[in-house]
Amino acid sequence: MQQRQLSLDADEASLKRGKKRGSYNCGRCGLPKKGHSCNVTVDPTNPAPPSSRSRQTQLDYYQPSPSGHHHHLRRALSFDDDDDVVVDHVEPVSDDEESETCGPLTWTCLVEVLRRAGPKSLLSAAQVCRGWRDCARRMWRSTEELSLRVPPRSRLGSVGSLLQKCSGLLRLTLRIESDLDATLLACIAFSCPNLEALDIRTAENAVNWISGDELSRFVAEKKCLSTLKVEGCTNLGFLNICSSSLSTLWLSGLHSISRTAINCPKLKELSLEFSGQENDSTDLVTMVDSFERTCPRLRNMHIASVRLSHDAALSLAQANLRDLRMLSLVLGTGITDASVASITSTYTNLELLDLSGSSISDSGIGMICNVFPQTLSRLSLAHCPNITSSGIQFATAQLPHLQLIDCGMTISDPSVEDLTAEQQTCSTESNYDERVNKAKHHPMYQKLIIKHGRLRKLSLWGCSGLDALCLNCPELNELNLNSCTNLHPARLLLQCPTLENVYAVGCGDVLIEAIHNQIFNDFVSETDHFPRKRLADGSKRVFVPCFPSQQPSDDGKGRRAWQSRCNIRVN
């Protein structure tokens, strides 16, 4: 969920095209272009084959272009006439001299410029003159990946006219801020015959009117679609997804799905997020039960619904999906320790387990630790009010391969817990203030000591019941202490030399200062300070467990580099 959020905030629209400089050879027959008139005709329905560009090619964008086009460079340095090099990575350009220069620029330069311009600039450039328009047109045609934000009030028909230009599109991401219906799907189906990945994101207030019938028809017709992600599926009514190519399916905003038929033998990743409304009537037990037959190769499964119950967990255990490695059953308060027991009895190779929002307790954590000591690398237990710091401590001690653990909103004051149920999705500023006030009246604090050799991310956001924290994690990269309002600055000990990001939103100034000191100053002279540490009131000394320093002592250089890398984010 968090990851998706991040990508939403990314650049509103970015085009990814292949690189590859212009060629000095004829695009049709391959002979050197200089002084050459080509007689080979090209089938207009079959333009130049798209080179195998991928996300990775974006990375080496600025590296020198592949060798192979330098061979005839000398020919390009002709002194007798104004020889312009025609780029033909898209498709051969007519030999008209007119089309070879566009105002002050040569065609090659213009191609280079427009290739890196965003979609908006490209639309603008298309209106400059004919040469620019033709160049922009070729750009659209060779585009394989398009990410577009559709502003509110704009007609979806105009998006359709843009998509029609992109006949070679393989991956499409649309962020739609107006209402949408099946005409959009029809547009995409019509314009992009080879589409492999479709991602439709909707803004909060936009209504997605696509029905289950329309979605199933779209999927059935798109024979090469492998990834489908649609947000805001409130009006689907039922799910009937049958595809032999689909491997990733993400649907969110689902509501009251009457029946489900996800018949995708190649499906590896399934994410179903239901809208958090109480009156949801989806029968998750039957749905999960059917996966054994319809999606036998499921590897990653994510279901977020308040309707998740112990029975759903039982039927999942019975489904026995042999390839399942990542399991996420979120928001189900009905998921209990007994559910954990049945899941762990069937699935013994899980790498990721997310039971956020469930009712499991420390004994559930114990079962998890017993079954997955060798495989589990990511564990998320946010909003599980029944677990305590000793459960978390046990998990970190028993799961040596753990890289990420999220314990947000777990160790909180009893007074706060009733509040958290209501604000599971987000906590507003006012709620936060309330919590702080209440917390002051119920001092019931816990301490947390974690020593772990592989842990990279630790999240303790909203652990208002946390009083003392001691971390010895040489690999720890990211630490989230947002709203750890009662963490005592003097009872904080960070021995994490590779920390890059520390989040401390909503922490007291003294605590932030303590974090800062621990990271930037104390670390350098750690041997002087440990194992004893004076409390803030100066009255007594507490013994702080001393771990053998994992940091090589002569590592002054690395330490400096690390210091400059670490960010403490407080707002």
């Binding site: 330069c109 400059v128 328009r133």
Partner: protein, 177 residues
């Protein structure tokens, strides 16, 4: 002067007849010239027919800097990040104050001489200049003649109009930054 005799010099003639004498290592930054030199055309003056003298001066400035960077980075062992940052800053400075017509000529020249780095700098600059501009503004900037018929222009404008609607969301985001 004794040094210059040791180093091999190359002479380049711009389109308006001015002759520049540069070290071979500087000229070799341009891959087109490198290929030529390796094919033994070193004695003659190399005519660079499509590049005017002021542009060629700028190009040579760039090449000289590239040579300097590559020689200095081999002696001092800087971590890569730093040089990357410095290079970026230097590139911005180099492109600072370059007007649109010079930019176009620079692009053409760097493409012709096949200087990847300079081409990238120029393209980035031009992309940033185009960004957020209306077609007429782009035309004015780069002296492009509008050769559309009124009908064509109307049609293409209608097609693309939606992208140019002012949207408050985008405005708010960009202003808050």
């Amino acid at each position: 002067m004794s040094e210059s005799t040791e180093k091999k010099m190359v002479r380049l003639r711009s389109s308006d007849g001015e002759v520049f004498e540069v070290e071979e290592s500087v000229a070799k930054v341009a891959k087109t010239l490198q290929d030529m030199l390796e094919e033994d055309c070193a004695d003659a003056v190399i005519p660079i027919t499509c590049v005017r003298a002021p542009i060629l001066t700028k190009v040579i400035d760039y090449c000289k800097d590239q040579v300097m960077i590559s020689s200095s980075s081999s002696t001092t062992n800087n971590p890569n990040e730093r040089t990357e940052q410095e290079r970026k800053a230097w590139g911005q400075k180099f492109m600072e104050g370059v007007d649109s017509s010079t930019l176009c000529e620079l692009l053409v020249a760097s493409n012709f001489l096949n200087i990847e780095g300079l081409l990238n700098l120029g393209v980035d600059k031009m992309v940033s200049m185009i960004q957020g501009k209306y077609p007429q503004e782009i035309r004015d900037m780069f002296n492009v003649v509008n050769d559309f018929t009124p009908e064509e222009e109307e049609e293409i404008r209608n097609q693309n109009a939606w992208a140019f609607e002012r949207d408050p969301y985008y405005k708010k985001r960009s202003s808050s930054k």
